[in-house]
């Protein structure tokens, strides 16, 4: 064992699993005091890895959009199409829903049903409003002849923003599932871990939306 490993190992309470060889070299008392890492931390880590892979997938869509943003094929550009008032409303909905989702997590951890169900319901309404605004925007664009088949720019736009919208829609279904599971099974350890994953998912969607409204809408209108 190198000096570096020894130094890193001593104050790292975060190793997922200690190999047998490693365990044998640790002083017994120290190991016993630390114990295995909780399942909750391992589940959160695994789900975080999935979310990062999802973010990497989105980065490919962002790269595609950035390459194709100028290829309007004589059609309308973002400056003519985007309505920042609509985007601002969408942003407000998603940001507030991220906050209420956090409140719902705390409600579940404090076993307060009114907080949990109330905050989850508000989160659902805000998420549904976001999807509604996006659907209205898409329908308006298609009606103006600026559908995904009009130009490479619009294909990339509908793919990127639509993919985020699909994620939010899936999140809404998951949200309802979580409410039903807590209702049917109570605040069990495994249900609370699923709630943790749902919270991570929902907050990550908001992070991706920050990139979407900045790169697509604000830069599209500003430049």
């Amino acid at each position: 064992m190198s000096a570096f490993q020894a130094a890193a190992g001593r104050d790292d309470a975060n190793r997922l699993r200690l190999g047998p060889a490693w365990r044998d070299r640790q002083p017994l008392a120290e190991h016993a005091a630390r114990g295995p890492v909780s399942k909750r931390i391992i589940v959160g880590y695994g789900f975080w890895i999935f979310l990062l892979s999802d973010i990497v997938m989105f980065s490919a869509f962002f790269a595609t959009y950035a390459v194709l943003v100028g290829q309007t094929a004589g059609g309308p550009s973002g400056r003519e199409l985007f309505d920042l008032r609509n985007t601002g409303l969408q942003t407000a909905c998603l940001l507030l829903s991220s906050f209420t989702c956090g409140v719902a997590s705390i409600g579940a951890q404090t076993r307060r049903g009114s907080w949990f169900y109330g905050a989850m319901a508000v989160t659902f309404v805000l998420g549904a409003a976001f999807i509604g605004l996006e659907a209205r925007e898409f329908a308006g664009l298609v009606a103006r002849g600026a559908g995904p088949t009009r130009s490479a720019f619009l294909s990339a736009f509908f793919t990127l923003v639509g993919c985020h919208g699909l994620h939010v829609s899936a999140g809404l279904l998951w949200l309802l599932t979580m409410m039903a599971q807590v209702f049917a099974k109570g605040y069990r350890a495994d249900i609370l871990r699923r709630m943790l994953c749902f919270g991570l998912f929902w907050h990550t969607l908001d992070i991706i939306w920050v990139a979407v409204f900045t790169v697509v809408y604000l830069m599209g209108v500003a430049t």
Binding site: W48, F99, Q109, R188, T204
Partner: protein, 133 residues
């Protein structure tokens, strides 16, 4: 998950002490942290939307300002909503995030760099059409 495993879950204390059951003080601290995050994110969002339309600043600086504001807001979300912090039980999460950021950076800058060069070096389309004739 099998039934016996679920039962074990229920009886065994497999959670971080004080996490799955919060007392009043911890819950208030959690709400406070969420409120700070909401406030900062709202502020950064409003500044972003204002900067995008304004004529007060030098125009070429606007995309740079927007990018900086967006990255700052993502940081706010990571810390106050996802709770990815530098605490000892978060080291693996931070390392995974760093790797994810590296891949995202490679994918986006690599694509833009390569496609810009291809675009600059490609023969104009009407020349290609003439050669095919």
């Amino acid at each position: 998950m099998s039934l016996s495993e679920q039962e074990r879950d229920l009886t065994r204390a497999d959670t971080v002490p004080g996490y799955d059951v919060l007392d009043e003080r911890e819950a208030a601290a959690g709400i406070g942290s969420l409120l700070i995050g909401l406030g900062l994110a709202t502020l950064l969002t409003i500044v972003s939307f204002f900067i995008a339309r304004t004529t007060l600043v030098w125009q070429p600086s606007i995309p740079v300002a927007l990018a900086v504001l967006a990255i700052a807001q993502m940081g706010v979300h990571l810390v106050f909503f996802l709770h990815i912090t530098t605490g000892p039980d978060n080291t693996n999460n931070v390392l995974a995030l760093a790797f994810g950021v590296l891949i995202v950076f490679l994918v986006i800058t690599g694509s833009l760099w390569i496609m810009a060069h291809l675009n600059a070096n490609m023969m104009p389309m009407d020349h290609i059409m003439q050669m095919q004739r």
